[in-house]
Symmetry: C2
Amino acid sequence: MPNNENELIASFTRPEVSALLKRGQAALLAAMSSTPAVLRRGQILVEMDDPHEFLYVVESGWLARSRTINDGRRQIIVIFLPGELCGIKTIFMSRQPDDIEALTTASTRRIHFKDACDLAAKDFAVAMLLAWQLAQDERRLHNWTVRLGRANAEERLAALLLELRTRLKRLGLNGVDSRYGLPLTLQQIADHVGLTPVHVGRILRRFREQASVVIANGEVTFLHKSAALEELAKPVMDIVGE
Amino acid sequence: MPNNENELIASFTRPEVSALLKRGQAALLAAMSSTPAVLRRGQILVEMDDPHEFLYVVESGWLARSRTINDGRRQIIVIFLPGELCGIKTIFMSRQPDDIEALTTASTRRIHFKDACDLAAKDFAVAMLLAWQLAQDERRLHNWTVRLGRANAEERLAALLLELRTRLKRLGLNGVDSRYGLPLTLQQIADHVGLTPVHVGRILRRFREQASVVIANGEVTFLHKSAALEELAKPVMDIVGE
DNA sequence: CGATATGTTGAGACCCGTCAATTAGGGTGG
DNA sequence: CCACCCTAATTGACGGGTCTCAACATATCG
């Protein structure tokens, strides 16, 4: 168990911490399967209720933890972006009631949870990285709990678009500040924010008409009145802009 | 970092595992402050955005992680019952955007996160317990994400009442199977399930009229048609009945 | 006994869902 | 290059679940 992660989140930009995390990430990545598995959109990496034994890193594409109810309702619980780890809880539980699925064409590499444990025991930076990612995930879940419980459609969508912007930026995956790729369908967005695709479409039209954002051709583009978006989302954004 | 928690959740009742968890709990509790801090209802244990350094165990009463928006909206993100640990993420982050507050009169004992880490490093059972509680918390957050995103008022309330029943039973805190103490106001329930107190009251009346459950005098009592509740909640309950 | 917080009930409004029709887009094969 | 198909996106009309507001009842506590 790692022993001094305090101040981690508060110091996203502190060079010595991010350096440690980068070292841990490098060590873990080096120990992962070298040949990536390729997934088609909609393909399921880990089936719900199945025992599973691996942690994964997203190489390219977007993944998600999702739960589907037999009457057709579906909730995307967490989105995993390229470079992020998923399935860390595999270390602690052999089965979970959710799928991990590919939201887009994607590729992943993996490591057996026992190997990951051994590595973490030997290399503190790896333990640090794993703990850090877990804490990140839980913080994000807290944010979405607040949004799904108390925020309206506009606030949820504004929060989603802004959260993805800061996450992609932090991962170094968006070229320009005012634009990023969003490879999700309205249905997938709706399943994440707890709305219907029809209503998501209506809210996005409203945003477009207000000149806040346009989302077209799989690209989000912030317009000159995007401050209105930030104003909308502000009550449900956390300290680090997610 | 612990190294063989696999099968933990799947084996809630496996005697050797629960024995290990009990040992870990005993060791951690023994290291905690011996004089409990007493909290009045509504009192805040950890203020949002404040740096904090302690893990807590609930001795008596109910606590919650809650987030309040300045316009008055409020979301209870997680409920902590007597015997459960809260603030474990303190080990990893010095500040979080939520309060930890007393939902009822409550008492807690605490331990500095560094001491908890040292203990976990020496005693595997403690590390096990901490990891197990974290995994528990995250699984519960997943469940509530699904419910807040996709379940209607009846399903959310049915799920809440049943989840609390199984959690209290597991903690050994309910005498009879068909009855348990629920020390929450309609407002607090509403803040947890993402509804208004008025609507929560209406749904509970419906439950009462259907002879599913009565909730009166701070007690939940399941009636002869409580199977209807389980039917309602089933689509949004996880494997272990939470 | 009064004061305050909490619970109950009703009427009306609003946000979002449902359903259905239409358009647009993206790939495939001829 | 076009015809075709299938999926995704758009739009409108309508209905319903939940919220809002306000009045009243009840419980709690000094």
